[in-house]
């Protein structure tokens, strides 16, 4: 078997190796060492992040399952619960965008149905370089088709997401996929290998040589020779996964199943030791029984393979036949490969020969965690300081407005979501294009709202505030459609955590997110960390993507962003202050990424309360929060979606006009409502303690914005609508 495996090449440190030897009381053999290598990789062990993640609030009266399982679960009443999780597939997507993104979607879907839930929606949060080079376009195009083809084939609607284009993501795009499922509380299953003597089965696809060391691959920086790491990229088989999904949901109904776990990163090694560890048991497996796709596979290859579309099922003893029967119906294989033991060891056999024997607790949870050195990076001071008097106020606001509207980060995302089947299963009541997607829950009056959010630029400029804003924006987007935010899931995309500056960003983002989650009562129930998003020594913006679910009690009271009726008044809930810090306006018009964005969580809470109460009372005809591009872009979007014009009249109160129109200050929601409901809105706002300001009227076919009596912008809505809609298509085709 050639030369001895070097633990350093597996990414283990001297200290970690020593710990392994001490734990075992002997030197591990090559296979054992490799199993430790993948399980103790950052991707599987969270060794660089675990201590920090403890900061997140994870409890709440609706939380049924917090972090630690395959996905989090939150109660939505009537015996039902929502299961959700978000996950990254950044590195594979950089190398093979189509398959990388597709298998990312496949992985997150398995995490959901592993819990016994029927997946009902997908969302995707994407980051690419600016849409200029052929390479970026190729990545973008491939990623979107990969997500589309996998989700569409599975019959799970992709109902929302976000995308940003910034140069820091040019070499290292981010591809985060979120999946949401619904389960009856009584049907929840967990990834536990309980019941000594129970058989352990592997089901689904055959095991091949693909993806060996994928977990380690995700735990290092992208480099020139990443292209060579061929096996880390796999081809997805959504049809297989669809069969697997249906078969798994069917076996879960049969009552034969004790525990179930998908085979993701670190394949069989991770699935077996994690399920055993959660139950406090051991598992014994025989790799020679694992059905294979290729001949001559070694125990090492079987244990480390990351072949997709497989699951590990722990079955009640004696009921294997029932499982096999159901899988046969779906033309799939289900094979018993081992059993649950009581000795706390993962024992791997190849026929009669024991080839590895490791304590599951150590393997699954024993990786020593570290708190890394943290230091505020030097760039922070430079970027936060910005002298606005050196930034000229534009003369032609029409031109600035049109330029902003056509910015890649602001224009319509239709080109993307038109490729996603967002309607299959006929639950999607609010389609992509609104602040959050809304799905009905058939058989009830309820609905759930879903969104993902994160402005990485804010996090770059001020990680603490950026983290707070990401959470606040997600919650606000839910509130805009009339949903009460319930819980969050997060995907933390950062650079190399060994770099003090990156670690500092990481810490601060988490602190900020935690504060906001506490303030807004949205505990974190699941998540994922993706480090080493760097190439050529440059890290991406800290990008802690927040996925959130909200509950709508009455789906007849949903609100959408488009203006509905001429004559309606337009009002801003929240203070109408500007705030150019970190804005898209500064980047697009002045070429600056600068400023110090911030948020006041108390004000945010009041604004959300006000909006939510107004939607409950049914007085709003539209609602849309102010985000990238500021107030005027927000109003333009509501005009475009409603197909009507608006007349806006603003008082600058001494502020710069560009700030008034394009500033991105937080905690603002623009609503429209009939005149006679304004009193009611004002009453609500007084009760919750926030401001409401009437700023205009829905009228005509033009968008007209006046500040301090001067008409700054006047545009035909049909005209801007076309520009806004077709922008990405024009860049791509």
């Amino acid at each position: 078997m050639g030369k001895k495996v070097d633990y350093r090449e597996l990414g283990l440190t001297d200290k970690e190796y020593q710990l392994i030897v001490e734990t075992l009381g002997r030197e591990p053999n090559d296979l054992e060492l490799e199993m430790y290598g993948v399980m103790w990789s950052e991707h599987c062990s969270y060794k660089n992040s675990k201590p920090m993640l403890k900061r997140f609030p994870t409890r709440g009266k609706r939380v049924i399952q917090g972090p630690g399982e395959n996905a989090g679960i939150v109660d939505i009443d009537d015996g039902q619960a929502v299961v959700m999780k978000i996950e990254s597939h950044n590195h594979p997507s950089a190398i093979e965008p189509y398959q990388g993104a597709a298998t990312g979607v496949g992985g997150i879907i398995r995490d959901i149905f592993t819990m016994g839930a029927r997946p009902i929606a997908l969302l995707d949060s994407l980051r690419f370089g600016e849409l200029k080079s052929e390479r970026v376009k190729h990545l973008f195009s491939g990623v979107v088709s990969g997500i589309a083809d996998y989700g569409n084939c599975m019959g799970i609607p992709t109902v929302g997401g976000e995308v940003y284009f910034e140069s820091c993501y040019t070499d290292n795009p981010l591809v985060n996929a979120m999946c949401v499922g619904i389960v009856n509380k009584k049907d929840i299953v967990r990834g536990k290998a309980s019941g000594v003597g129970n058989p352990v089965m592997i089901v689904g696809a055959l095991t091949g040589r693909d993806g060996i060391h994928g977990a380690s691959f995700a735990s290092e920086e992208l480099s020139e020779d990443s292209e060579e790491k061929r096996p880390a990229v796999q081809v997805g088989d959504p049809f297989m996964e669809k069969l697997l999904l249906e078969a798994c949901l069917e076996i879960l109904k049969s009552g034969c199943v004790v525990g179930i776990q998908d085979l993701g990163a670190a394949g069989l090694t991770s699935a077996s030791c994690e399920t055993a560890s959660r139950a406090g048991n051991g598992i014994e497996l025989d790799v020679s029984l694992v059905p294979r796709r290729e001949e001559g596979m070694t125990p090492r290859e079987v244990m480390l393979s990351e072949s997709q579309e497989r699951m590990l099922v722990i079955v009640k003893k004696g009921r294997e036949n029932e499982i096999e029967e159901i899988f046969r119906k779906w033309d799939l294989a289900a094979v018993t490969i081992g059993r649950v033991t009581d000795d706390g060891f993962l024992r791997v056999k190849d026929g009669d020969r024991v080839v590895a024997e490791l304590p599951v607790k150590s393997l699954a949870e024993g990786a020593p965690t570290t708190v890394n050195e943290s230091k505020q990076p030097a760039y922070i001071k430079d970027v936060q300081r910005i002298q606005y008097d050196q930034i000229p106020v534009p003369e032609d606001f029409n031109e600035v407005f049109l330029k902003l509207l056509a910015s890649e980060n602001i224009c319509s995302r239709e080109w993307i979501y038109r490729q996603y089947d967002h309607m299959v299963r006929t639950n999607t009541l609010v389609l992509p294009g609104a602040d959050a997607a809304v799905l009905r829950i058939k058989g009830t009056k309820k609905g759930i709202a879903l969104t993902t959010d994160c402005n990485g630029r804010y996090c770059y400029l001020n990680p603490l505030e950026g983290g707070r804003i990401a959470v606040a924006e997600a919650a606000r987007n839910l509130v805009c459609v009339g949903a009460e935010p319930l819980a969050a899931t997060d995907c933390l995309n950062f650079g190399n955590p060994k770099k003090p500056g990156v670690y500092w960003q990481f810490e601060n983002c988490i602190e900020g997110m935690s504060q906001a989650c506490e303030a807004l009562n949205t505990p974190v129930i699941s998540g994922n960390v993706s480090f080493y998003n760097e190439s050529k020594e440059k890290a991406v913006y800290p990008t802690p993507v927040v996925g959130m679910v909200g509950l709508i009690r009455d789906i007849n009271k949903i609100v959408t962003p488009g203006f509905k009726k001429e004559g309606d008044l337009i009002a801003v809930i929240g203070e109408n202050h500007g705030g150019l810090d970190g804005s898209e306006y500064l980047r697009v018009i002045h070429g600056r990424v600068a400023g110090n964005p911030s948020i006041d969580l108390e004000k945010e809470k009041a604004v959300q309360k006000c909006c939510l109460e107004a939607t409950k009372q049914g007085i709003l005809n539209s609602a849309h929060d102010v985000s990238e591009g500021g107030l005027l872009i927000n109003i333009a979007e509501s005009c475009i979606k409603g197909g009507v014009g608006a007349r806006i009249e603003l008082d600058s109160e001494g502020k710069r006009w560009d700030e008034v129109l394009f500033g991105e200050a937080q905690s603002r929601i623009v609503v429209s409502l009939s005149e006679h409901n304004c009193k009611l809105l004002e009453k609500i706002s007084e009760q919750v303690g926030c401001k409401v300001l009437i700023i205009g009227k829905v009228a005509g076919k033009k968008l007209i914005a006046r500040v301090d009596g001067s008409t700054l912008v006047k545009q035909d809505v049909a005209e801007i609508s076309r520009k806004w809609r077709e922008r990405i298509k024009c860049l791509m085709e």
């Binding site: 490729q419 309607m423 006929t426």
Partner: protein, 233 residues
């Protein structure tokens, strides 16, 4: 009345069709598993081949599903005049099975398209469109990657003479043009029927717009037409 919804491995819209029949039409409906031969004793009044990705759309959409055990019975059922509705992937299966003429190619832009479109009713004399007016414009979603219908010129001419073109992509006013063709389909064709009119294949999804809360209930006209026909009203 009794409906059957075929489940192929990879069918996705089977549940959506089932839902409409059961909860919206309030009629009897059951699933038909692809592995089982169609039993005559079941006495279906209408069989739906739903959308989705049977066999992952591998090889060609519908190409493998058409060899399912159930298909022989369905062909027989159709030949005896039974109502067969193929939606999206179901339409593709009908083409591959030869129950309808022509074939599907990838969308012209090579991308999957999910969108609300308008179609014009060209033939309102078949069981599936009895309740529509000729020329009526329906707003109805499409969701497919292979909806680029192809047929040779000669057959197309015959189909027109036989009034087999049922739906064409148009704008909201009913104008049919290149600009309103989402996928490159020949002659903007969105749905066709056989000569006898008892087999309909359509790319748009009527089951996705049969309830007002979903934004449009135009699709319900198709199901209501079927009911009207079946009840002999």
């Amino acid at each position: 009345m009794k409906f059957g919804v075929v489940m192929f491995p990879g069918s996705n819209c089977d549940v959506d069709c089932f839902h409409v029949i059961k909860e919206v039409l309030k009629e009897e409906v059951e699933y038909i598993w692809h592995k089982e031969p169609l039993r005559e004793s079941k006495r279906y009044d209408c069989i739906i081949l739903p959308g989705g990705f049977s066999y992952g759309d591998y090889l060609r959409p519908g190409a493998i599903a058409r060899f399912s055990n159930v298909m022989e019975g369905i062909i027989d059922f159709a030949e005896k005049g039974g109502l067969v509705l193929g939606i999206c992937n179901g339409f593709q299966v009908l083409l591959e099975a030869g129950l309808l003429p022509g074939a599907m190619k990838r969308n012209k832009n090579l991308r999957f398209i999910c969108d609300n479109v308008f179609v014009r009713v060209e033939n309102n004399t078949i069981p599936f469109t009895l309740k529509c007016k000729k020329g009526q414009v329906l707003e109805i979603p499409i969701a497919h990657g292979d909806g680029n219908y192809h047929i040779d010129k000669k057959t197309l001419k015959e189909m027109k003479e036989n009034n087999q073109i049922v739906f064409r992509y148009c704008d909201e006013k009913g104008e049919v043009s290149e600009a309103t063709n989402p996928n490159g389909s020949i002659d903007n064709i969105a749905g066709i029927c056989n000569r006898r009119g008892n087999v309909l294949g359509m790319m748009p999804h009527p089951e996705r717009c049969s309830e007002e809360i979903l934004g449009s209930a135009d699709g319900k006209l198709i199901f209501d037409s079927i009911m009207k026909y079946l009840k002999g009203e």
